[in-house]
Symmetry: C2
Subunit: 200 residues, 2 copies
């Protein structure tokens, strides 16, 4: 599927076919594409948790205002991030670069994040957004649909998935076969309101 078509036809789907099963190959393909999304300094701090156990899916649904797509879609992906990734052996993220590049970038990573909790948090939310749209557009190209969700109790879901202390959840995405067409877009702002030139 052409990129433009995927962008234009992707919609947040709420009703999924509960009998549709994604193959292991499809899941691997989708996640491998997600891993092509960029992260600042290539720190790859996202952690994609695939919730496959039906019992855990039910628990997460209960923590997500009982939204049926949480259990009915084929795949539930929790887009999490390791907040401390920037300081976890960062030389790995630049293993194939020249020594000169590494000597420049490793101190730059440290200076950019050290002691800056809000900067780190902004970064992981942004990175999960970049990876999330990659997943949703790839799913569309695979003939599948998706729904990005942040309507859930983050603390409750964190407990269910045993989220480590130095990790956070950004949002979740369900992927599967839609069982119902979405409504028309509900009310889009005019181009001029969201696209500005030069200065506010």
């Amino acid at each position: 599927m052409h990129v433009f078509e995927a962008i234009r036809t992707r919609r947040a789907i709420k009703k999924f076919d509960p009998n549709y099963v994604m193959s292991e190959e499809e899941i691997k393909q989708l996640l491998s594409l997600a891993l092509e999304a960029p992260t600042a300094f290539n720190i790859q701090h996202w952690r994609f948790l695939l919730v496959r156990n039906p019992e855990i899916r039910k628990q997460i649904r209960a923590a997500a205002w009982d939204q049926e797509q949480v259990t009915d879609a084929s795949l539930l992906i929790l887009l999490c991030a390791k907040l401390s990734a920037w300081e976890d052996r960062p030389e790995r993220y630049w293993a194939n670069a020249t020594q000169e590049a590494r000597d420049f970038i490793l101190p730059a990573i440290h200076n950019y994040y050290y002691g800056k909790q809000q900067v780190i948090r902004d970064e992981v939310m942004r990175s999960c957004g970049l990876a999330g749209q990659t997943i949703m557009l790839a799913a569309k190209a695979m003939g599948l649909d998706s729904c990005p969700m942040d309507g859930f109790d983050y603390d409750a879901v964190g407990k269910i998935i045993n989220l480590p202390e130095d990790h956070t959840i950004s949002f979740m995405i369900v992927v599967g076969k839609k069982a119902q067409e979405p409504h028309a877009k509900p009310g889009q702002l005019p181009y001029q309101e969201v696209v500005k030139i030069d200065r506010f």
Copy 2:
């Protein structure tokens, strides 16, 4: 271009052809595609600032560690967001929905964001990520290249663009024709480290 190819060939480009000019039609097409990216509750809080004035581009480059792509790429887009968008006439975001849907969603928006500054901030960072990858993949399909950037002085750039009090900058993206191939990817983590199953 197929979605998979765009995802796999998109790279952060640092060297752009300074003579390549994007047409008005291309710019409009690119931004119109960005507007198809999802936002929670359809609040469309992103604000895309296209910096076209060369003098302002130079000032932003100075505030971005003098990185040449800021002035040499065809287009510089600052992905900003209006933090107060959720409470700015939210009925507009659901104008075409049924009264029943509106009666459900408008109080839900209020309850989700009211008094929750970090939730609002996380949301805009995530939304700008979703829109940013939309832009970068669309650019790729248009035969163009891009670079996502957060290596700049946010306060200094905010002053240059006269950023309103209730707005924030998420990151910036340059778009244009690459003048040099990127290096190989510098060091990708193994699939098993970033993709987890069921629980941490």
